[in-house]
Amino acid sequence: MFVEFLWVLLLGSLLGFELIGKVPPTLHTPLMSGANAISGITVLAALTAIIKAGDNTALLLLGSVSLGFALFNVIGGFLVTDRMLAMFSRKPARKENR
């Protein structure tokens, strides 16, 4: 199981290195913000903790707070990235009236 996980870690890292080999500087800020939203994938860990907690209130609480932090990251991150990118994409359409 552990070895399997290590492979997953290795391949995931390689994928990450390859994926953003070339990025125009324009997109560095949105990319950072988008990647940051994805790092909120710890929602999965938080959910797992809550589901497995049973009647353990302390564990439920820890999981729930962790879920809140992660979702703050995820939802805020994706929305703010979208807000930034929306400003880029509406540009070409406006060209005509200048």
Partner: protein
Amino acid sequence: MSDLLKYSIELVAVLLLALGIKGLSKVRSARGANQVAAIAMALAVLGLLISYAGEPSFNAQAWTWIIGGTAVGGVLGAVMAQRVPMTSMPETVALFNGCGGMSSLLVALAAALYPAALDATGPVALVSIVVSVFVGSITFTGSIVAMAKLQGWLSTPPWMQSKLRHVFNIALAVAALVGAVEMIRNADSGTGLWLLIVSSSLLGIGVTLPIGGADMPVVISLLNSYSGVAAAAAGFVVGSQLLIVAGAMVGAAGLILTQVMCNGMNRSLVSVLFGGALGAGSVAGGGGGEYTNITSCSVEECALTLEAAERVVIVPGYGLAVAQAQHTLREVTRVLESAGIDVAYAIHPVAGRMPGHMNVLLAEADVPYEQLKEMDQINPEFPAADVVLVLGANDVVNPQAKSDPDSPLYGMPVLDVQEARTVFVVKRGMSAGYSGIKNDLFELVNTSMLFGDAKKVLGDLLVELKDLGLGKK
């Protein structure tokens, strides 16, 4: 059956996440890609919920806690994302990032306190917990300090700029290591755990606090990479391959981005992290030479020169972003354009408060995308420009980077603004850029300085231009 479904969903989610990150690196596909990544995330959550459906502990009580956490975190995140001004983007990313780190830390803490409930027993789980706690704590406190510094809530205490801070940080790192070893050797005692949490949290503060404002984006990018690592470690703790892949992808992508930013600033990551506030030190030491031959001019002269120009290039920099002057700038360029003057914007790769930030700010101010020229594209065009207006930029227009092999800036890519017929530099004062290096551009005969806050100068300029009769329809 449930397993098959779970794995299929996870596979699709990973694929979509990868496509999302990939698409985010192209202007045309970026917005769609961000949405794809968001869908992937939703899918991952759905897959997880499905895979645990039917477990006895996945009951109404669990749902209550899930909904509670979701409501609070989700609503706050959504409100924050809508409200925050575009100029505050660096600190916003820092804050979000810190919360991601906090989440990993809390999960690891839960696993450390209640290993049996989360099946987090054995050496692998313990090591993963240690890594997750360590990286999660550093990410959290580091990001919060970064945010506070960018907001101007915190400044660096003098002793943190001295060599003493290395002793302090090394001591903390040793304490964290001791805590980690103690935690693995003696899992049942909480001593190691708390020592690790406290010392790595303080380490996050100690490492981030001495770093200067202009280097902060590099640090945020690095911390973003850390939060990926923390997520991957949390994946080992709870046994989720999806979490490991996604965390590893973000960790790797963040590292690349950090490297790209460092290259743009001609700084090595090591000097950013351990050099401390370089600018502060050199300014105190005299700023690398006095200026002797400065020509300053009035806004009126600048307006007259602009009126006579045919081709104007704007070089926006950090100072423009700090002064939040992008909208005023856009009004000025509208007036110029209406008089038939050709306007372009030269965007240095690291202009603004972080790479690509200037593009976001100018896009927000409705500057047409095709007027934004990247460095390689605009540099051959400077000799044909009548006027270059440098707004709060310094090091990125320093000709020394090309002409003086002894300069610390030598080799850094710069904009060749000195090639233009006339250069106006709008700057708050004669202080050096964050590199602390004297800028020869300011002493050239074709350069005039306009001292003042970028927003105020641009506002005055707008008035003058309108007085000259420009901008009347």
